[in-house]
């Protein structure tokens, strides 16, 4: 065996190529699933054993505000993918427009959630309540994720303006998309579990 064969040129991919960042983001989301799972479980246990008192609070809550919020978030996801689509179509302005819409919708969502919280506060539902704490923990944790998402969207817009993204390179948007859609999915469950059931 000769020294020469100890090392050679660049290695060929040993399997189907998956981008590092994409896999990394998916793994991160995997752990997020478990955290949200824990918080939701805590709520679900209470809901199971205190059906009537939850019913009562749900009447307090009402559905208008949160229904609007749900549509906002769904729409923001839609805007998000269309932004990605523009990138794949080599259209920077398109990206800025759609991602901008995403950020806007996200912001409104947070604001409305703030409004809802203050209303609930007046209705006497706060962290000290048996219901309150179990309600705020998951929703506020989700809200925090939306805020982070909005900031991230602004960053993506900045990059897009710089013309970073194009049909060849739209990974940055795709990764952000994964995060944003995940936050959307979490809301889909929170909406059904906390407000409808």
């Amino acid at each position: 065996m000769s020294e020469a064969t100890l090392e050679h040129g660049p290695a060929a991919p040993s399997a189907e190529t998956i981008d590092n960042y994409k896999l990394g983001m998916w793994l991160y989301l995997a752990s997020e699933v478990v955290i949200f799972g824990t918080l939701i479980a805590v709520y679900a246990v209470y809901r199971l054993n205190n059906a009537e008192s939850v019913q009562h609070v749900q009447e307090e809550l009402g559905l208008t505000l949160v229904s609007i919020n749900t549509f906002l978030l769904l729409a923001s996801s839609w805007a998000m993918v269309l932004g990605l689509r523009e990138a794949q179509k080599d259209n920077p302005q398109g990206i800025v427009r759609w991602i901008g819409l995403t950020a806007l919708l996200g912001t409104i969502f947070v604001v409305l959630q703030g409004v809802e919280y203050t209303e609930l506060g007046h209705a006497g539902i706060h962290l000290g309540n048996e219901y309150g704490m179990r309600f705020y923990a998951p929703t506020a944790f989700h809200g925090a994720h939306v805020i982070i998402g909005v900031l991230w969207a602004l960053y993506v817009m900045k990059q897009a303006r710089k013309g970073v993204y194009n049909a060849k390179n739209y990974l940055g948007i795709e990764i952000f998309g994964l995060y944003w859609h995940f936050v959307d999915v979490v809301w889909i469950f929170l909406f059904t579990l906390i407000y409808l059931i």
Partner: protein, 558 residues
């Protein structure tokens, strides 16, 4: 796909030459080797901290009364921080350190997939350590490393909150590190290295990383609720206002049982490497060992409530006994495969090998103790006694720590280009082995006879046995001092070695010691079978490696 994601924009490497200087460890660096050593150095520091606390614990327990400590609270704080430090700041980061240093090398990669994330994950540890220790100043945490409410919520001072925040940081750090490992192992293997040709250490790190990604979030969630209870007026764990104390116990063990495999699996990986190299024989049953790591990881998720046999609803206890016992099977496969590995080998009694062999005997003792505890009727008697303390020190000290020692003796030459002193190594082994036996075997007996854990004042009937335990523990302290001395001395005086002092076949040996900033010149070709010792091809390959990366003296001679 050996892409390097370390773009200059993310910062540049601190190591110009191959040698990494102590000063580099204090700087922000993206080099996985520097980060690996940073993990190891900080962990060793915390080992000394935690160990010194252990010495104080044993000193206090020399007599049945309170003498060293002013009151029970102080003792509880000492014992709590000892446990937390040893688990979260010594074992887990140490294993991460080995992973960081070795995985890219074993894969022939230039670095981890996400160097910046890697560095970030490490730098979460120092602040966490500060939070953990500083708790002492504001009224220390005193609810044990398991911190069951309501003691940890309604009845504990602010240090408890800082303890929780510290664990929060460490949890995030370990999740980020794990993501990095999975991506690196999935994407950065060299051409021709299928998962079935990965070194077993890489297998073990992969299994560990999967547990970390899936289990640690439970801790994060639980701690979030605990901190809210302590600071925001919620009462998730306070039955007084609609909370539930068992919720914490469940969520905590959702994480903390899998965590015990986070603490041992990387070690399992290291021992496979060490045994094969120093017995000059292929690992016996490669696939079985690789797969058993995965099955341990999965079954490990189904046994958590065996820590709650005296608080769990009685009807639910038996199922967890069964799952707990099942874990003996994959673990047994490993043990027997290792015996098969040394059987018929040509065993070299290096310090690394001694610790690897010692591990086998000690860990099996601890594991069988675990089976005792898994049997519900017996555990009803043994729960929260020194039998449990004995069990987990056997598996953690006789297991994880022995393997860390073995790993350090084995890879120290690769990391520093110098060999550790074998004589001191043997002395270290003998003292540690004896110390471990006489510290933790009597603990089993004392527990079975009726000595509860976490007590500063105990029934005078247990004075003698506690004296034996304490004296043996002090021997452990001394042995650790020998070890520390050996490391410090070998850093400057150790015998210089070439790239492959042990004639190992895995890729980390196919480069200089220590490796250059990007690990390899060009992309290395892995030897087809990482454990092909005794095969006809291995000889020539190893000779070629030796000629390519000779020991300095030989280089001068040639």
């Amino acid at each position: 796909m050996a892409t390097i994601t370390a773009t200059p924009g993310l910062g540049s490497r601190t190591t110009e030459g191959a040698a990494i200087r102590a000063a580099d460890l204090l700087r922000w660096s993206l080099d996985h080797k520097v980060i690996g050593l940073q993990y190891m150095a900080s962990s060793l520091f915390f080992f000394i901290v935690g160990g010194t606390m252990a010495m104080l614990i044993r000193w206090e327990l020399l007599t049945p009364a309170l003498d060293l400590m002013a009151d029970g609270t102080q003792y509880n704080a000492l014992m709590t921080i000892h446990g937390s430090v040893m688990i979260f700041l010594w074992i887990i980061p140490m294993m991460a350190g080995f992973g960081n240093y070795l995985v890219p090398l074993m894969l022939g990669a230039k670095d981890m997939a996400f160097p910046w994330l890697n560095a970030f994950a490490f730098w979460l540890i120092p602040p966490a350590g500060v939070l953990m220790i500083a708790g002492w100043l504001v009224g220390p945490p005193e609810a044990g490393w398991t911190s069951y409410p309501p003691l940890s919520t309604l009845f504990s001072p602010d240090g408890q909150t800082m303890w929780a925040m510290s664990l929060h940081l460490l949890g995030v750090s370990s999740i980020l590190g794990a993501i990095n490992f999975v991506v690196t192992i999935r994407n950065m293997r060299p051409a021709g290295m299928t998962i079935w040709k990965m070194p077993l250490f890489v297998w073990a790190v992969l299994a560990t990383a999967i547990i970390q990604v899936l289990a640690t979030p439970f801790l994060t969630g639980g701690l979030t609720l605990l901190i809210l209870d302590r600071t925001a007026g919620t009462s998730f764990f306070d039955p007084g206002s609609g909370g539930d104390v068992l919720l914490w116990q469940n969520v905590f063990w959702f994480y903390s049982h899998p965590a015990v495999y986070i603490m041992i699996l990387p070690g399992f990986g290291m021992v496979s490497e060490v045994l094969a190299v120093h017995a000059r024989k292929p690992v016996f049953g490669y696939r079985a060992i690789g797969l058993s790591s995965m099955s341990i990881a999965l079954v490990g998720f189904t046994v958590w409530a065996h820590h709650m046999f005296t608080s769990l609803q009685p009807a639910l206890r038996i199922p967890f006994m069964i799952t707990s016992m099942i874990i003996a099977v994959p673990t047994g496969i490993k043990i027997f495969s290792w015996l098969g590995t040394i059987w018929g080998g040509k065993i070299r009694f290096t310090a690394a090998m001694l610790f690897a062999l010692g591990f086998i005997t000690l860990f099996v003792f601890g594991g069988i103790g675990g089976i005792f505890l898994a049997a519900v009727p017996v555990d009803i008697h043994l729960h929260d006694t020194y039998f449990v303390v004995g069990h987990f020190h056997f598996v953690l000290f006789g297991g994880s720590v022995f393997l860390i020692f073995a790993g350090i003796y084995h890879w120290f030459p690769k990391m520093t280009g110098r060999r550790m002193n074998e004589r001191l190594g043997q002395l270290h082994f003998v003292t540690t082995y004896i110390g471990t036996f006489f510290t933790f075997v009597p603990q089993h007996i004392a527990g079975a006879l009726g000595l509860p854990r976490r007590v500063a004042m105990y029934d005078p009937a247990f004075t003698n046995i506690n004296t034996v335990i304490s004296l043996a523990a002090f021997l452990l302290g001394i042995s650790s001092l020998i070890f520390m001395y050996n490391i410090l001395r070998s850093l400057s005086h150790g015998e210089r070695v070439g790239g492959n002092p042990w004639r190992g076949l895995t890729l980390e040996w196919a480069t200089t010691s220590p490796p250059p900033p990007w690990n390899f010149r060009g992309d290395p070709v892995p030897f087809d079978d990482p454990y092909g010792y005794g095969s006809d091809e291995s000889g020539p390959y190893l000779d070629a490696v030796e000629r390519r990366f000779p020991a300095p003296e030989e280089a001068a001679g040639a």
